[in-house]
Every structure is written in structure tokens, then in C-alpha cells.
């Protein structure tokens, strides 16, 4: 940056200062949330089902895609639709270009007699957050969360331009790969990541996906082969960008005693939080994920440390040892960025399912991260797992969920993030 003028440098420093002042208050707030988690009613994931992600699903409409997934999730939990206290879904009508397609999708559940229901125009993980909130009311004990995404009917690179500022960004039709490339460049320039490391993340993801029956891309490949690919938008090559695919997923949540009735080993949500950053790309530091960090603090996944301006707030939050993490990184460079924000070191197994680089049905992949992490807690292969979901350009909004075999948040204090 030798050519940066002094005026530009000082103006940006002022931005960083403004950012940090607001961040300090938010970090204290997140820590306060984490320290009060024992006041929440215990809620657990008791079942998860996901369709196979395919490049183009046009034999089935949304309802037909969802029905087997919903039936599988309910069947695994051993309950019927009529017993559900709440239903919440996540999807985006822009993907298929059919306004109110989410209303039609309710047919997959059968909304008669009229049910308590809600929808978010976001990934299903954020619908799960709403369901978790609803289950804090002791009037209901179970919730179904489902999501579906069909990206194949439209040109997803044009459709996703619509998520940007409609005044000064969207009129240029910036596609999501181009926007992500700016973030990847910022990371490469900062020395945090190389193009080779991005390819290695793709290789690991595809390899792990070979044991996942729902993945879209699962194969062995060579590093040199990947690095020889032409750029899609430099520095992103095709392997560093999640495949476009169609799919659906469903999760059943249950609270308190009900969770123990419905699952032998429920995956208890011992912390959950989500945070959003400004929409203006130019106002953000793309080399860090402040919203993931704050959501991680709020969920009790990481302690505020030196990077958080030394926030301690006096609240003692026990940070458990994490066995694995399912991180929603639709671009290879975002996985280490999220892991860093959550203080996950090399001992934590990342994306054993193959992650978003193996299957990224839009509006579904975040909920699937929670489902995949919960599945491994329920089957005993993990005691504590972290799930993360993202929405918006360059990790604008992030949700972090801590899942554990025991209802009480706890375990050894690892001091990660300190």
C-alpha cells in the first residue's frame, strides 16, 4: 500500500476507530448473553433429515421436494405433524422467481387445522433461531424447522446481485462470486491465506463428502489440477466456489423433558446467537468476521480476547472443548476466516460432512450445518459441536450454535480466544 495517500490512510484509520468503538459495546453485550444462558429453557435437536443436493431438481416442485424430508425428520423423532407446537421455514422466493412460493410449500406440512407458523426469507438456520425462541415459551414443546432451495431455475449470479444495495451497487449487477473474490483478495493480500490453501480446503471438503449420501460434489482430486483451473473471478477458481444445487432439509426441535422422550441422545442447544454487519461492503473490514466473532461470544463458543479490545466484563463464561465444527463457508476462503473468528484451532475437526463446498443448496446449507453437527452429537461421535450459518454477501450475517450431549453448557475451560 505504498502508494496510498496519507489522507486516505488517516480517513480509513478513523473508520477503524469508529468501528471499534461500536464493537466494544456489542462484545460486552454478547458476553452478557453468554453468561445468562442458564436462564434459557433447554432446547435440543432431536432429528435431522436432508435431501440429496442435485444440480437441477425439476421433476419435483418445492412441496414434493420437502415432503419426504419432513416425513423422515418427523418419523425419526416419532411424532406427527399434528403434535407440533410450531413450524418455521426458511427460503427465498427470488430463487425460483415465484412470489409467495413459501406459502405453497406449507402444503408439505399440511396446514389444517390452522397452525402456529412463521417464515424467514433467509437460510433455515435463522428459522431455527426463531423456533428456538418460540420454544422458550413453555406452552409448546416441539417445533419443525424446514428449508428448501432451488437455484437451478434462474441464473444465480444475477439473482444474488439483488441482495446488494439497490441504489449504488445492484445497478452494476455485481454477482456473488465477484463480491466474494474481493474478500478473498483482501485475505490473500493480508497474508492470512494463499490460493493453494483455498484449493486444499476444497480437496478436504470433497474427500470428506465421499462419506456423505447427500453431497453434490464428492471426489478425490489433485492440487495441481485445481490450481491449473482458470479463474472464475480472480483469485477464486471454480473449486473455491460452492456448487449451485437444489435441496431441502428439516430439523425437529424439542424442549425439556420432551427432548428426552423423542431422542435417546438429543443434541442440546447450549448457546445460540446471530449478528449482522453493515450492508455496505466498502464500510466493512472483509479480512475479519466481526459478526461471527460476536455471535460466537454470545453462543459461548469463544471468549473475548485481545482481539476484542480486552473485553471481559467480569462475566465468567466456561468455554467447552469443541470436537468438531460445521461451518457454512460457501467460498473456500471463508472457512478459515470463520474458524479464526470462533477461536477454533487445528485440533477441531472442520466440516466432516464436506461442508458447503460439497453441497450448498441456498437457504438450506446453513440449517444443514446445524443438522450435521447435531447428528454427530446424537450418534455419540462428538460430545460438543459448533454449527455456523451465514447469509448475505461476504459473511454479512452469521449465526453460531453450540450443541452438546449434556443439557448444561459446561466442560473444561480451554481458554481459547484469550
Amino acid at each position: 500500500m505504498a502508494t496510498t495517500s496519507r489522507a486516505t490512510g488517516s480517513a480509513q484509520a478513523a473508520t477503524a476507530q469508529a468501528y471499534q468503538a461500536t464493537y466494544l459495546a456489542a462484545a460486552q453485550d454478547a458476553l452478557r448473553l453468554a453468561s445468562r444462558r442458564d436462564r434459557f429453557r433447554p432446547v435440543a435437536v432431536v432429528s435431522f433429515a436432508q435431501s440429496r443436493t442435485v444440480e437441477r431438481e425439476d421433476h419435483l416442485n418445492e412441496v414434493e421436494m420437502l415432503m419426504p424430508v419432513v416425513a423422515e425428520a418427523l418419523g425419526a423423532a416419532g411424532i406427527t405433524k399434528k403434535e407440533l407446537g410450531f413450524v418455521c421455514s426458511g427460503s427465498s422466493d427470488y430463487l425460483v422467481g415465484a412470489p409467495f412460493s413459501f406459502v405453497m410449500a406449507l402444503d408439505a406440512v399440511g396446514a389444517w387445522p390452522p397452525m402456529r407458523e412463521s417464515h424467514v426469507e433467509m437460510d433455515g438456520a435463522f428459522a431455527l433461531y426463531e423456533a428456538w425462541t418460540m420454544l422458550q415459551d413453555e406452552d409448546m414443546d416441539t417445533a419443525l424447522v424446514y428449508s428448501f432451495g432451488r437455484s437451478s431455475p434462474g441464473d444465480i449470479r444475477r439473482v444474488l446481485a439483488m441482495q446488494l444495495d439497490p441504489y449504488v451497487e445492484a445497478p452494476m449487477w455485481p454477482d456473488h462470486v465477484a463480491i466474494a473474490a474481493l474478500q478473498a483478495r483482501a485475505l490473500v493480500d493480508s497474508g492470512k491465506l494463499s490460493e493453494k490453501e483455498m484449493a486444499e480446503i476444497a480437496l478436504r471438503s470433497w474427500h470428506d463428502a465421499m462419506s456423505s449420501p447427500t453431497a453434490q460434489v464428492a471426489r478425490e482430486a489433485g492440487l495441481e489440477e485445481l490450481l491449473a483451473e482458470d479463474y472464475l473471478v480472480s483469485p477464486l477458481r471454480p473449486h473455491a466456489v460452492a456448487p449451485v444445487g437444489d435441496g431441502a432439509a428439516a430439523v425437529v426441535l424439542a424442549a425439556g423433558e420432551k427432548a428426552l422422550e423423542l431422542a435417546e441422545h438429543p443434541a442440546w442447544i447450549t448457546g445460540i446467537d446471530h449478528r449482522i454487519e453493515p450492508s455496505s461492503l466498502g464500510a466493512r473490514d472483509l479480512t475479519v468476521s466481526g459478526s461471527t466473532r460476536l455471535a460466537g461470544i454470545g453462543a459461548g463458543v469463544v471468549s473475548p480476547g485481545a482481539d476484542d479490545l480486552g473485553v471481559t466484563g467480569g462475566a465468567a463464561v466456561e468455554i467447552p472443548e469443541v470436537d468438531l465444527a460445521e461451518l457454512h463457508a460457501p467460498f473456500a476462503h471463508q472457512e478459515p476466516l470463520i474458524a479464526e473468528a470462533l477461536g477454533l484451532d487445528a485440533s477441531v475437526r472442520l466440516n466432516p460432512s464436506g461442508g458447503a463446498l460439497s453441497a450448498n443448496p441456498l437457504m438450506v446449507a446453513g440449517l444443514a450445518r446445524i443438522g450435521e453437527a447435531a447428528r454427530r452429537v446424537m450418534d455419540g461421535s462428538a460430545r460438543v459441536a459448533v454449527a455456523h450459518a451465514t447469509s448475505g454477501p461476504c459473511l454479512q450475517q452469521n449465526l453460531v450454535c453450540l450443541l452438546a450431549a449434556e443439557a448444561e453448557a459446561g466442560g473444561a475451560v480451554s481458554g481459547r480466544g484469550a
Binding site: Y19, H59, L60, G154, R158, A178, G282
Partner: protein, 327 residues
């Protein structure tokens, strides 16, 4: 639906276009920003915070703190690239239709970057930290849009922008949106549509509750289970309810007044909307027995357009009890 294709033996597909001619009012500061672009300059807004910052594009608020801004400041037209990504394959609608770089550019005097593009000629000519300058369109071609800056170019390679004076303030931004889709009807609706092209109504029955749905969507909305039994229904039915349309509207194709009714086909458990003709509008009534009038055999298509309208059969009206459940 004349463009429907049947490349797959089971599933019907058709092009589907979403178009929105959005006009957005731009407000005080964004209005000043767009007016500035027409004039050939870039405006930011000063924050009142300490330290003072300049938010670009000008906004009434600071995107980080949400506080009000106070006063406009001219920035640029030169600046520094803080991040970039090169594309060899521009997409429809993007600012340049030749290889270019997307970039975040911090204009001189600004506190944050803006998103735009750099026309440097080649990937190798790009670098983080490089100085660039805005290349404005000709004054006559500027409309008050972010694309009034055609692109940024390496510093020294663009002439100074021609300034325009006496510019009308920009108050509205036109942002036409067009998205192209290939709509797929799925198996259940494809079966229904194919039935229409054969001059018959094909519904589906719920295996659990026995209800018959037409058009079918492949599932029972009550039980949430797949409906797979195909049921052929007669083309006679009953008007359950209706309205008389008297108000002209854009795209109106039928002479006023006309009747839109919910028709419950005999044997179906759900009604659908269609036209009632062959009877004066003021004589249409609930319980009226009707029959589908199809287009000529050669004109049948996989669409509801195969049914021109429903007309009275002349039978006595259906008793209220026979359709009250479907109101």
C-alpha cells in the same frame, strides 16, 4: 404458454421472466450524490462524530454508527484500490462487456471504499494499492446513476471529467430489474397440464383422506402426504362463488362486465377460478351448473388457456349443501 417444451418425457418447462421497473426516490443525500455524478463529481457526507469521517456515497446516516451525517464533501476523482477481482467473462448487465476488475476503491478524502469496476486492460495491470481515477460518461449520457462513472482507470490514463452545470436535482432513480428463469412444473402439475392439451381434467386423490385435488400439486395440503393416484374428472361442475368485474385494468383482454367464478368440478374437493360466459353477468349465481368450453381440438395447449370459459349446462342449480364446504 406456447413456448412450453417437452424435452423430458414427464416434466414440462417454460421460460419465465420477472421484470420490475422500480423507481426509487433517493432522498436528500443520495439525491445530492446522484446529482453530483451528473455534474461530474463524487460527493460524500461528513459525519459529526469524533474523529470526523467522510461517508461515500453521501448518505443521511453513517452506515457504521447509524448517526446523522452533516454536510456534503467532494471526494476523488482519484483513489486507491483496496481489493479487486478480475473477470474474463462479464455477465449481462455488468458495467463493462470486456474483461475487467471488480474493485473496492477508497476515493481521496473518503473514509470508506465504494464498489465499482476498473478497466485496466489486463489482470497483470491490477494490483492492490494501485491508484485509479474515475472515468465519467459524457455529460449528455449521465442520468444520475452509479454507472455515470463508466469505470475507474489507472491514474494518468483518463482525461479530467467534463463538468456539467445547471443540473436538475436527481430525485428518482430508475432501476429496472429483469431475471430470467426456466419454470419447471414438476411431475404432478405436468400431468395436469398435459391433460389439458388432451382436452381433459386430471386431478390427484389423497391416499389418506380421499380428497381429490385439481389442479394437483403432488401433495395433500391437509395431510402433507404425496398424492399419486391420478383421477380423471368430468368437465362439468358448480359455481361456488363468483364476482362481476366492472373495472377496466391494464392488460384487460375480455369485454366488461365479465364474471370470474370459483368452479368446483364434479368429483373434485377443491375449486379453481375461471370465466363464466354464455349467460348475462347479472344472472350468474352460486350453485349454477356449468360445463367447460374447450378451444378447438387443434388449438389445445398444456395450459388453462385450453378452456375458453365455462357456460351453463341448463341443469337445475346445485343445492347449497352440496358445495357449502368449499366456500
Amino acid at each position: 404458454m406456447s413456448e412450453v417444451t417437452m424435452s423430458d418425457p414427464e416434466v414440462l418447462r417454460a421460460p419465465h421472466v420477472l421484470e420490475f421497473p422500480y423507481s426509487r426516490s433517493v432522498g436528500r443525500d443520495l439525491g445530492a450524490f446522484f446529482t453530483g455524478l451528473v455534474e461530474g463529481r463524487v460527493l460524500g457526507a461528513s459525519t459529526r462524530g469524533s474523529p470526523d469521517r467522510v461517508v461515500v456515497p453521501a448518505r443521511e446516516y453513517d452506515p457504521i454508527t447509524g448517526e446523522d451525517t452533516d454536510g456534503l464533501v467532494e471526494v476523488g476523482p482519484g483513489g486507491v484500490v483496496t481489493a479487486w477481482g478480475w473477470t474474463d467473462h462479464p455477465l449481462e448487465g455488468q458495467p463493462l462487456q470486456r474483461p475487467f476488475a471488480w474493485a473496492l476503491v477508497v476515493l481521496d478524502g473518503a473514509s470508506n471504499a465504494i464498489l465499482h469496476v476498473v478497466d485496466s486492460g489486463s489482470h497483470d495491470a491490477m494490483s492492490t494499492g494501485m491508484r485509479v481515477v474515475a472515468r465519467f460518461r459524457d455529460p449528455a449520457a449521465r442520468v444520475g446513476s452509479i454507472t455515470d462513472i463508466e469505470c475507474f482507470v489507472p491514474e494518468g490514463s483518463a482525461p479530467q471529467a467534463d463538468r456539467a452545470a445547471g443540473v436538475e436535482p436527481v430525485t428518482v432513480l430508475s432501476t429496472p430489474i429483469r431475471l430470467d428463469y426456466t419454470f419447471s412444473a414438476g411431475i404432478a402439475q405436468s400431468s395436469f397440464l398435459r391433460g389439458l392439451s388432451e382436452g381433459r381434467f386430471l386431478g390427484q386423490r389423497c391416499p389418506r383422506c380421499g380428497q381429490v385435488y385439481v389442479p394437483p400439486r403432488g401433495s395433500c395440503p391437509t395431510d402433507g402426504v404425496p398424492t399419486t393416484d391420478v383421477v380423471e374428472l368430468p368437465d362439468t361442475g358448480t359455481v361456488t362463488t363468483y364476482c362481476v368485474v366492472n373495472v377496466p385494468f391494464q392488460g384487460q383482454a375480455i369485454e366488461l362486465p365479465y364474471v370470474c367464478a370459483q368452479v368446483l368440478l364434479d368429483g373434485a374437493n377443491i375449486s379453481f377460478m375461471h370465466l363464466i360466459q354464455g349467460i348475462p353477468a347479472d344472472q350468474v349465481r352460486m350453485g349454477l351448473r356449468v360445463r367447460a368450453v374447450w378451444v378447438d381440438r387443434d388449438d389445445l395447449v398444456p395450459s388453462m388457456e385450453s378452456v375458453r370459459y365455462f357456460e351453463p349446462t341448463g341443469e337445475p342449480d346445485a343445492p347449497y349443501e352440496s358445495y357449502e364446504e368449499y366456500l
